[in-house]
């Protein structure tokens, strides 16, 4: 039995790594008493798989993981999958909120394979609205946007342009809600994940290619809002949402609590 979860990762906990997040989930699933299926061999591990790694420091409203359960150890009353989000959220660190859970068929490919693109909201500092608009237009007009990327510890040149599917400056009204003091500006982007994923920091690096060195855009915060898969030629999310939060823009800041 395979269960897919969608969860949000917001606030302080965004500074943990993907590995850290995996370990939090492992402990929470054990604390929740779920009958995890384990791998074979000398070092059995729970069969849990995450999708695309979320870069350390980024928030998300659309993280997914698949968990394999041992059907033989599910009690006679079965498992109330719909109740799992409420059961698991209190067992996870503050800022990790489980929003959906559903069984998925074994035939469905792994998250790593099926996700084709991700939507992001970014907060960028260092440029004004006009300047940012010009940088966005320049990037979209370019046929090639060479950036330096780190890969296995080595720096490589790579063309960013094909991976930028959509990119726009957020509406002024949204910015006012997200950042009342106006230090940062919003960007909305959809970035391809195949053949490999683009990180928000790389997108901003791409924007900076044509920028005035005195007014370089600096990534302040980033939040992954959706991951997309293609199913029967249609773009959809790996789990259908029961309700899409209308205030996804505001969420990262609204949820932050001064300690």
């Amino acid at each position: 039995m395979r269960i897919r979860f969608r969860f949000a990762k917001l606030g302080k906990v965004r500074f943990t790594s993907q590995r850290d997040t995996a370990r939090m989930w492992e402990r929470a699933l054990r604390r929740g008493g779920l009958p995890l299926a384990y791998t074979e061999g000398f070092s059995p591990r729970p069969r849990i798989s995450f999708g695309l790694a979320l870069p350390t420091g980024c928030e998300s409203r659309a993280e997914y993981l698949d968990v394999a359960l041992d059907e033989d150890r599910i009690g006679p009353d079965g498992l109330d999958v719909a109740a799992l989000p409420d059961r698991l959220t209190p067992l996870l660190p503050e800022g990790i909120e489980v929003e959906e859970a559903a069984t998925v068929s074994r035939a469905e490919g792994s998250l790593q394979q099926v996700v084709t693109s991700c939507s992001w909201t970014l907060r960028v500092a260092g440029v004004d609205r006009t300047g940012l608009g010009a940088l966005v237009a320049a990037l979209l007009d370019a046929t090639e946007v060479p950036i330096a990327r780190e890969r296995k510890g080595r720096e490589e040149r790579d063309d960013l342009r094909p991976s930028v599917l959509t990119l726009a400056v957020a509406a002024a009204a949204d910015d006012e809600a997200a950042d009342p003091i106006g230090r940062t500006l919003g960007l909305v982007a959809e970035l391809a994940t195949q053949p490999r994923g683009v990180r928000p920091v790389e997108l901003v690096r791409g924007l900076a290619v044509g920028a005035d060195p005195g007014h370089l855009p600096v990534l302040d915060r980033a939040c992954r809002t959706e991951q997309w898969i293609e199913r029967d030629g249609l773009r959809e999310e790996p789990l259908r949402r029961t309700a899409v939060p209308a205030d996804a823009w505001r969420a990262p800041h609204a949820l932050e609590r001064a300690s």
Partner: protein
């Protein structure tokens, strides 16, 4: 006086995208407390002077964290040493040291309390006090500054840090921490000490004098150091006040069962060392290994009742979600009925067969491996044994009475039951050590490889070799440490001898770091200036090889008119005043001296847990005794009692006449080196 502390979170948050492993600075651990700073409560910041990953698991600090937060008149938060990139960012942005719970500024706490587990963290202690915005020297602090407290094993020679630490607490902290807190609370106020007190030193001095009367507490400023006019060495300390005791004796809790802590072990959001549930099954050890400070200063043995161990394990696993539990102590296989205890843990249905139990510090015998095989059936990576000495003679000197046949039986059992990697710990630079003893390490380890080959082709044995640092309050406290050159020579001897042996790897601790540890280990008050010199020149994180620099230490010694010869390499004489004579772990000085003489005569000494007392002083002095459930030593192996210690069961070896190549001319005995080959080799 209740008060609001400032939070630095927004400043800290702006730094985190630019530093490595930012999760170290966000707190949020399971078990982390919503700390309420109540009116009148003394606020403690508990500090581990190394990184978060190393410091968070420290059980001593976690115990104090819970005990203090349970009190109405106290509260406690935690902090760790920021890594160098974070420290640079903090200093550049003017952000002081902060607590991980609420990001409160360290300088706003009443107490900065440090755990000192290793000598070389001492420069980090200075750095953290400085990052807190507090003067690093006690003498420069006024009544408004926090009190700097330190405890832990290194407190048993407190003198190197006497200039910087206001008060040391010796021994078990469970009871002492409350008594110290009461004195702190009583002296706080406008006319005393604390924020809001007058900016003078009188309130602070009154507080420190009062603290010096708490049993187990040593306040360096309440003592006058006397120095020899000719040699400059510290001759002793005289109390400056009538109420200050001349001898400060450690605290010992009589019954571990009364202290089932930590009740809610911290589970960090990010990976740390020892990332598992830890349950302390007993405290103290009387194996009597003469090099081991931990075993000497934590006596007597106090076992936790097996039933309480089981409860702490099952509650802890359910609460944390960990799938591994370590039953911790200085020698966990010695716990009475250890097999029953671990069996009941893995057979607990709540664990559903997926919990791994680990016993740090395995005893060396096949019986123990059998237990290990049973309990580590979930994950089986490597097994570690610590024979410490390469020959039976050497092991008699250090009183680590492991027979060769026990080691081989243990290794045979380990490889036979599926382990493919075995790690062996050894010390070099021990008293009376000859090159034959040193090379015995390779001989033993090579035999272990051969034994393993009978089971698998790809077995590996790692001999991990550390340079011996004599420690205060041990029988070897008089022994002059081997020089950097001598330890390096021995390391090369081992490396060259091991090179032809396939499957054997020798790893060693940097002899230069060993020398620096020796400076702090047995130094007197003059070493304070040395530590400050190293710190002022950027010498933080000296436990980390990428930051360690012996030149900083030797130039600091020279600046104080000292040398490695004087402080580290020199044998102390029987009648010489030792810098730690005014603090006591209960052990009589004449017992320690006699044990040193027995060592030199190669006499082993049995474990007093199961044999008559030989009056070391640890029990009798404090009116406590061993709490051990079993009246007889564990079955099997040679570390019990009743064995014939005169034989040692040495496996015969053949001597080949050729000297190993690359053996540098040595000093002292043992120059006539020979290749020693176990008889099993073809």
């Amino acid at each position: 006086m209740g008060r609001e502390m400032d939070t630095l979170w927004l400043q800290v948050e702006s730094l985190l995208p630019h530093v490595s492993k930012p999760a170290r600075y966000i707190g949020g651990e399971l078990g982390s407390q919503e700390v309420e700073h109540r009116p009148g409560a003394v606020s403690w910041l508990l500090l581990y002077p190394d990184t978060y990953e190393v410091g968070l698991p420290n059980q001593g600090l976690q115990i104090l964290y819970e005990l203090l937060n349970e009190r109405q008149d106290a509260c406690a938060e935690r902090s760790y040493a920021p890594w160098t990139d974070m420290e640079a960012a903090m200093r550049a942005a003017g952000v002081p040291l902060f607590s991980v719970e609420h990001h409160h500024p360290a300088g706003q706490f009443d107490v900065l309390a440090f755990n000192l587990s290793a000598e070389l963290v001492s420069t980090n202690l200075l750095n953290l006090v400085d990052l807190a915005g507090v003067p690093v020297r006690s003498a420069d602090r006024t009544s408004v500054h926090p009190v700097v407290v330190a405890g832990g094993h290194c407190a048993f020679n407190p003198e190197p840090l006497a200039d910087f630490v206001d008060c040391f607490v010796l021994g078990d902290g469970e009871e002492a921490v409350g008594e110290v807190n009461e004195v702190l609370a009583a002296h706080r106020g406008p006319a005393g000490w604390g924020r809001g007190a007058g900016d003078d030193r009188q309130g602070r001095q009154r507080l420190l004098r009062a603290l010096s009367t708490v049993p187990g507490v040593y306040v360096p400023s309440c003592y006058e150091a006397r120095y020899d006019a000719v040699t400059g060495r510290q001759l002793g300390l005289a109390p400056r006040f009538p109420e200050t005791p001349a001898l400060v004796e450690k605290r010992t809790i009589a019954d571990l069962a009364a202290w089932p802590y930590p009740r809610a072990q911290l589970v960090p959001l990010t990976e740390v060392v020892h990332d598992r549930l830890n349950v302390e099954i007993f405290r103290g050890c009387t194996r009597g290994c003469r090099f081991c400070q931990a075993g000497m200063i934590t006596r007597p043995v106090r076992e936790r009742p097996a039933e309480q161990v089981r409860t702490m394990v099952s509650d802890g696993l359910a609460r944390t979600g960990y799938d591994e539990v370590a039953l911790t102590s200085l020698s966990s296989a010695d716990f009475s009925g250890i097999e029953d205890t671990v069996t009941s843990i893995i057979d607990d249905p709540a664990c559903s067969g997926q919990v791994s139990v680990s016993l740090p510090s395995l005893r060396v015998d096949a019986f123990t491996v059998g237990t290990a095989a049973q309990i580590q059936r979930v994950r089986r990576t490597g097994l570690t044994f610590a024979p410490e000495g390469g020959t039976w003679r050497m092991r008699q000197v250090i009183n680590k009475l492991i027979r060769e046949e026990d080691l081989y039986a243990a290794v045979d059992a380990a490889f036979g039951q599926g382990w493919k990697r075995v790690k062996l710990y050894f010390l070099i630079g021990l008293p009376t050590e000859t090159d034959q003893d040193t090379l015995g390490i390779v001989r033993l380890a090579s035999r272990c490889v051969e034994i393993g080959r009978r089971y698998h082709k790809g077995v590996t044995v790692t001999a991990s070799v550390g340079g011996f640092v004599p420690k205060a309050q041990t029988p070897f406290q008089w022994f002059g440490q081997n020089t950097v050159e001598e330890l390096t020579r021995k390391v090369h001897l081992l490396r060259d001898a091991a090179r032809p042996v396939r499957g054997l790897t020798v790893r060693w601790h940097d002899p230069r770091a060993t020398a620096a540890e020796g400076i702090v280990s047995r130094g007197d008050r003059r070493i304070g200036a040395v530590i400050e010199h190293v710190w002022r020149r950027g010498g933080t994180f000296q436990e980390w090889s990428e930051h360690f620099d012996l030149d900083l230490w030797t130039s600091a010694l020279a600046a104080s008119g000292l040398s490695l010869e004087e402080v580290v390499y020199r044998h102390r004489t029987e009648d010489e005043a030792l810098p730690w004579d005014h603090v006591s772990a209960g052990l009589h000085r004449d017992f320690l001296w006699q044990d040193f003489q027995d060592a030199l005569a190669e006499h082993g000494l049995e474990d007093c847990r199961w044999t008559p007392c030989y009056d070391c002083g640890a029990c009798t002095g404090f009116g406590v005794e061993h709490v051990v459930a079993s009246a007889v030593p564990p079955a099997g192996g040679s570390q019990g009692t009743g064995q014939d210690l005169s034989t040692g069961g040495q496996v015969p070896v053949r001597f080949l006449p050729t000297a190993p190549t690359g053996a540098a001319p040595g000093r002292g005995p043992g120059q006539d080196t020979a290749v020693l080959v176990g008889e099993g080799r073809g």
